[in-house]
């Protein structure tokens, strides 16, 4: 009988999967001391102090912004090219500049390059005392025409990367949202093509590499005056181009009524939802209020959308909302993935959440957002990387003032009511782009918004 019982036990274990011991009991508790009920008091507070920044001009008109961050463990050398051309053309030129820089074997820095609708940024990060190397590397790329081989490789790389981006669902969703918000026809295609960005890399190089529209930003353990001399030595020979950049005209933001687009993408286990609103555009004053609104909506786990969709309903891993300052218009947008069966619920939760932020002040989320931005600003004064980014943004927006001081001052006075007023202005007529299987079409149509289908 006992043998039979043992056999049964073995069979149960074998058939029923792993068997685990019960929880360890009796459980001996950690004493629940009274002081655990309250967090400790903050030990003072930290003031925001902007680093010393010197603004000067090289003889060819290039702006130099040099920030002395004395104890930084590295230095960043950033070349910022302001442009008003089609974004695809800027990305194409950025690819060529990166290709050219990487082919320079003498380069001893860490290089990163990116392009947006307003700028191309090339960043060389170097060890303290090696700013000279980084400036030499920058000069090697900018002061002579791009080699034919570099151009050929860059053209091919750019097209291949565009093709890859076209396969990346989130990229397609964001590009489509951007096209709807900015009204730029070319951006409405998920993949850039020679018909849109038709000009060649040498032409773009000649037009855009113009010291009058460029800044050199250096941040780290440097001396401003010595940096100016080095910059003059390496980049002072960069001449102004004969022809100037053609201005790419964007149509003014025209907002249709709420609208949805569905990308048919079979085999996706999730439905990817992108949403966007027209937001304040790039100006000489950084729009702190819009950054706060983005964080109130979707940044930390406690933000409005994450609390509603993730924490309460377990619908998504997370929602992140971004504020993008474009030259013609800004965009407030977010992305989230949900189970296809819950698409309708998710859209409803999104609309309800937008409405909630429009209708009432959100003091808790407001306070969190403001304090997060304030804490970030403290780092922005101490990390050479962030100091350089701030100065680069400042140049792109045509700002003369000390950006960090301006932002700090705004954070001291901003109120939850300001964010509600902004939300009332921004959060209406949402544009939705959904990627997923064809079956989602029924949900979107049922949901009421006009739906455009993209295969």
């Amino acid at each position: 009988m006992m043998r039979y019982c043992n056999l049964c036990l073995i069979l149960i274990c074998a058939c029923g999967g792993p068997v685990f011991p019960p929880p360890v009991r009796p459980l001996v508790p950690t004493p629940d001391d009274h002081w655990r009920n309250q967090p400790p008091r903050a030990a003072g507070s930290t003031a925001i102090e902007a680093p010393t920044t010197a603004r000067s001009q090289l003889t060819n008109g290039m702006t130099l912004l040099a920030a002395e961050v004395a104890d930084a463990p590295y230095a960043d050398v950033v070349v910022v090219v302001a442009h008003t051309v089609q974004e695809g053309e800027a990305r194409k030129l950025a690819t060529a500049l990166e290709q050219s820089a990487r082919d320079d074997l003498r380069q001893l820095s860490v290089l990163s390059v990116f392009a947006t609708s307003a700028e191309i940024e090339l960043r060389w990060r170097c060890e303290p005392g090696h700013v000279d190397d980084a400036l030499r590397a920058a000069a090697a790329v900018l002061t002579r025409p791009l080699a034919a081989g570099v151009v050929e490789v860059a053209e091919r790389r750019y097209r291949a990367e565009e093709e890859l981006l076209g396969l990346r669902t989130s990229e397609r969703v964001v590009r489509t949202l951007r096209a709807r918000i900015t009204g730029v026809d070319g951006a409405s295609l998920p993949v850039d093509s020679p018909e849109i960005s038709e000009r060649s890399i040498p032409v773009l190089f000649t037009e855009l590499i113009d010291p009058a529209h460029m800044a050199l930003v250096v941040a780290g353990p440097i001396a401003a005056q010595a940096t100016h001399e080095l910059a003059e030595q390496h980049l002072g020979s960069l001449a102004q181009p004969v022809t100037h950049a053609r201005r790419f005209e964007t149509s003014a933001a025209h907002l249709p009524t709420e609208r949805a687009i569905l990308f048919i993408k079979q085999h996706m286990p999730v439905a990817l939802i992108g949403f966007a609103f027209v937001a304040p555009r790039l100006t000489r004053h950084r729009n702190i209020d819009a950054h706060v609104l983005a964080r109130v909506l979707g940044y930390g786990i406690g933000s409005i959308l994450n609390a509603a969709l993730r924490e309460t309903h377990g619908m998504t891993y997370g929602v992140h909302v971004y504020y993008e300052e474009g030259p013609s218009t800004g965009m407030l947008y977010g992305l989230l993935a949900v189970q296809p069966a819950r698409l309708s619920d998710a859209l409803e939760q999104l609309r309800n959440s937008f409405e909630r932020v429009r209708r009432a002040e959100q003091p808790v989320q407001f306070r969190h957002a403001r304090d997060q931005i304030r804490a970030g600003l403290i780092l922005s004064t101490r990390w050479a990387e962030l100091v350089a980014s701030h100065l680069a943004q400042s140049f792109i927006a045509g700002r003369q003032s000390d950006l960090i001081s301006e932002e700090t001052a705004r954070l001291e006075t901003i109120k939850p009511r300001d964010i509600q007023i902004l939300a009332q202005r921004v959060l209406h007529e949402p544009q939705f782009v959904v990627a997923g299987s064809r079956e989602l079409l029924a949900t979107l149509q049922w949901d009421g918004a006009p739906v455009e289908l993209v295969r």
Partner: protein, 453 residues
Amino acid sequence: MLGWSPMAAKSGMTGGAIALVLLMAALASADGSLVVQSQLPNGLTVVIQADHRLPRVGVAVTYAVGRRDDPRGLEGLAHIVEHALADASTHVPGGTVQHLEALGGVASAMTTPDFTTMYEELPREYWETGLWLESDRMAFMLSALDTKRLERIRAVVKREWEERIGKVDRSAAAIVSSLYAGNHPYARLVDDASGLDVFTLDQVRWFFQRRYGPASAVLAIVGDVDPTLVDAAVRKYFGSIRGSSAFVRRAQTPPHWPDEQLAAREHSIDPGLDRNWRWERLDLAWQTPAAYAPGDAELDIVALMLQERLRKRLLNDGTVFAVGVQHPSRQLGSPFTIRLEVSPQHSLDGILSSVMAEVSRLRSASAEFEPARRRQVIRGLRELDNLAWRAYRLAESACSGTLHMVEDDVERYGSLGDKDVARAVLTYLLPGPHVVVRSQFSRFASQPRSIDR
């Protein structure tokens, strides 16, 4: 309100008797600041590094439990516990991450094959709050965990899996996993969402109580703090925590692999990608030394050098569309991987030969060595600003038995020469990859395939 833990029943220790009993080590970092490592009577290892350059503090707690410790049939359990720790605890019912974010902090958590680490960076004035909160997660997470909360956590982890883990990362993880023989802890690290529905609350409790006590954990604090004050606060917040004795893993060292298992093997694998993908793919993988072992830093530099060589040889002429060379370090041995997205008109065999020819050329002094070495040093310098990451590295390295600071990276990469790198190439890469995977996407019809061992 109780923080569940069996340790006190074994040791008979009380909170009042807890004291900092063992000063294990005091090391000087590159900038001269002291790193103090100690251990509490309940087994918690504590590492403190004062650095007054930035007005911030990084706090990390690493538990010696990773994905390789998931019980068979309950794969994903360590990941669930990570999310539970990031959720609420008894005295932080609104959520621990939310609490940190409200202070202007940045909080994150990671479950690797070897460890689970909760880490955050805070304004310096909240350093004590960081300790209070981490101690509450450690001692009082289970008290706040009920079935409803577990269901919500499970739902979020499933969404994470669908969104992130279940997509492109899957084939790369499968390739790395296939480097190891069947009984090796890394041999079954491919995430599988099917297990997520299985866990019960009792199983989560059992797993946490057995493995996540203070004796299996390391607490690290880095930043603008007074070590004496931190020391006292650590005793206050963590000293009374009861926990199980340190969990001893079954296999702490890499087992010996028979030669035939190390021979190059070829696999077919489901690409897990968009079916419109028109490129072919070639993956190569080698077994390399464990984190911080001889050869580990050298191969980090080799990865950068090889990336540049392959870019110039294969990417510039359009043979491949993308090149990725990776060398993530792990406790029981690391994978060195190369992934090439190949234009369909080129022969994968020909590309494989080209790759191995470039590997072979790395034996001789190379023009790429100095730029690659400098880039590794600069990356280390950049990490000095990231206090959360520094705390993470301190906690995780102490948990693996070798205290390692970000500053040490700057030093260890800085001291390497081209001969060291050549030796590593000769020893680890030239014998040939242990796994070669050719993914010819047009061959994959509707039926995905798993690894063919």
